[in-house]
């Protein structure tokens, strides 16, 4: 049984877009260029691993009247402890004096990243959180980017009242405090990862629209756009075929940067209690908890390290490296230069 249809949909859509992209001449060239760089291949593999893990976490089975995903099954052997335990430790942390030798302080299994306050394995939580992170960052992008690109291009190209209207729209949206808007939105439509994507997506297109608008205003006065108009090419085609490809770099950079900020935005929502449903693992939730635990003595560092360095960092770094390389590969002007 498939638990969450959203991720499957995104994965299939991504694969389909990738296929379409490879089919074109430019796409194949870009693909070959990307393939020739080890760093990029490594980044791509990391992203694939995250996707694979996220995907495996969405396929669940009915076992003992409980839904268990494949990831759950893999981690079946990892027991729950009483409370904190450090990575590879044999006893839990924070033992009451005088009970050092009691058997109940011993951990039941090995935890490579220790356990959190409730005794859950941190590594397992990190793994479980990757699906949420991917859905959030790609889902939000899927909603905000089409809006941002479309409105930005229209505003930049046509100017006049179209520009005024779209500017009015995005200044209005950006003048509403982001958090208040999202809270109100989630209160109306309910919790859940889909509505979080929607809420963040509907507010975060503003930045991209601004960038795209500015770049389009610059592009539309360049000779080659005038030349395209002089050839009688219709406006829609000019926007799609002549201006949009020139905005590639802007879109890819914004996407890789926004992917990480969305993961953090989710933690803010979780912190005030309107984030993902209780019981769903997410890096945001882990970060919020880790923050509190960093002030304890002895310091509980592994929850923080697990969520940020094992969870967020490799994904965001890989997205950045891959996005950067993709941008260069799509830009024929940097052809031949090793960047």
């Amino acid at each position: 049984m498939i638990k969450n249809i959203t991720l499957i949909f995104f994965a299939l859509l991504t694969i389909y877009l990738f296929y379409l992209f490879i089919k074109t001449d430019n796409g194949r060239e870009a693909f070959l260029k990307l393939r020739s760089k080890k760093r990029v291949v490594a980044a791509f593999l990391v992203i694939c691993i995250y996707f694979l893990v996220g995907f495996l976490d969405q396929i669940s089975f009915q076992i003992d009247n409980k839904n268990k995903t494949i990831i759950d099954l893999i981690f079946r052997g990892v027991p729950q402890e009483r409370t904190y335990s450090a990575p590879f430790a044999n006893r839990v942390t924070g033992i009451i004096p005088g009970t050092e030798n009691e058997e109940r302080n011993l951990v039941k299994g090995t935890h490579i990243l220790g356990t959190d306050i409730n005794g859950y394995d941190v590594f397992y939580s990190v793994i479980k959180g990757s699906g949420t992170a991917l859905i959030l960052s790609f889902g939000t992008g899927l909603i905000s980017f089409p809006i941002g690109i479309l409105l930005g291009i229209l505003a930049g190209y046509f100017g006049g009242w179209v520009d005024d209207l779209i500017q009015w729209l995005y200044t209005t949206i950006s003048s509403i405090p982001w958090l208040l808007f999202v809270i109100a939105f989630l209160m109306v439509f309910g919790r859940g990862i889909f509505w979080i994507c929607m809420a963040i997506g509907l507010t975060s297109w503003v930045e991209l629209a601004r960038l795209v608008r500015g770049e389009t205003m610059k592009l539309k006065n360049l000779d080659y756009i005038t030349a395209a108009r002089a050839q009688g090419i219709p406006v829609a085609r000019i926007l799609y075929r002549h201006i949009l490809p020139n905005l590639n770099y802007l879109i890819i950079i914004t996407f890789t940067l926004s992917a990480s900020s969305v993961i953090l935005a989710e933690s803010v929502l979780t912190f005030i209690g309107i984030g993902v449903e209780p019981g769903t693992s997410s890096w945001g939730v882990m970060l919020v908890e880790a923050q509190k635990e960093l002030t304890r003595s002895p310091i509980i560092w592994w929850v923080f390290v697990g969520s940020s360095f094992i969870g967020i960092l490799p994904l965001v770094l890989s997205l950045n490296i891959f996005g950067d390389a993709l941008r260069d590969a799509l830009d024929p002007r940097v052809k031949g230069k090793d960047v």
Binding site: D25, D223, A228, Q231, G232, N246, R333, K335
Partner: protein
Amino acid sequence: MSLLRVEDLNVHFHTPTGMAYAVDGISFQINKGKTHALVGESGCGKSVTSLAIMGLLSPAHTKISGKIFLNDKNLLSLQKYEVRSLRGSEVSMIFQEPMTALNPVMKVGDQILEAIAVHPQRSLNMDSGITTEHKKNRVLELLRLTGLNESVFHKYPHELSGGMRQRIMIASALSCKPSLLIADEPTTALDVTTQKQILGLMRDLQLKTQTSILMITHNLGVVAETCHTMSIMYAGKIVESGSVKDVFEVPCHPYTKGLFDALPGIGNHRGKLKAIQGTVPPATEYRKLNDCRFYDRCEFKDERCDTQSNRPGHYSFCGRSSNNRNS
């Protein structure tokens, strides 16, 4: 019969400093298969004239009046979409800077394909059953026609030299067999050997296709080489026009004379080159000038400067031109 007839064309812009009278009542015509030159210094309204003919000026800040007849159809009275359908098919344009006039992220072959895709029937001389293969073959044919190798199809603009890019521009401008080609300083950005090739190419293609060309330039050498008739523009007005032969033999207007005097001559190494005093005033000031707009910079000016003369086939705004021809 004239292909293009411009009558009393005015192009005025609203600017923060007032109305700019970039083009202020000019008239000229181009016959079929002929080349007409529009000559003048920078800022005299030559390019604005060409953009007005193409209908590429944004209507928000521009006031255009007058008449532009292309094949007896007034372009200024047509609907927007009608003008668009004429662009690329009836009229097309070559730009000054081949470096910036090609889309840097598109293969040049694709860019020519774009031009063909707008008017495929006209470009291919076919009514139906047009396939991608047909269009691609047409692009290769155009590349051959402009003297380029077919392998250029898969190149990006930055991989080509300036001359090759200008050939691409010409190929895409001629892709739909336009009856009028506007060349806005097509050779200014090129070195002289490439200039010669490009001009030769344009002339060959003109003979083949009977296209009329409006050549905008400030290079009198180019005019002598390629054009049949010419107009000299100064400060938004045409000050002298006629056949190239007439104007070159007997330049009547002092401005024309000034332009000719400013040319370096072969074998004449002595002395400094002559220059016309001063600069073209800004377009917002044009209407504040004398009736003769060149008056302030004219070296022949005197109290009789208020009439104009017309000799058959050779028009000059300066009324004194016949008197000072030998002075």
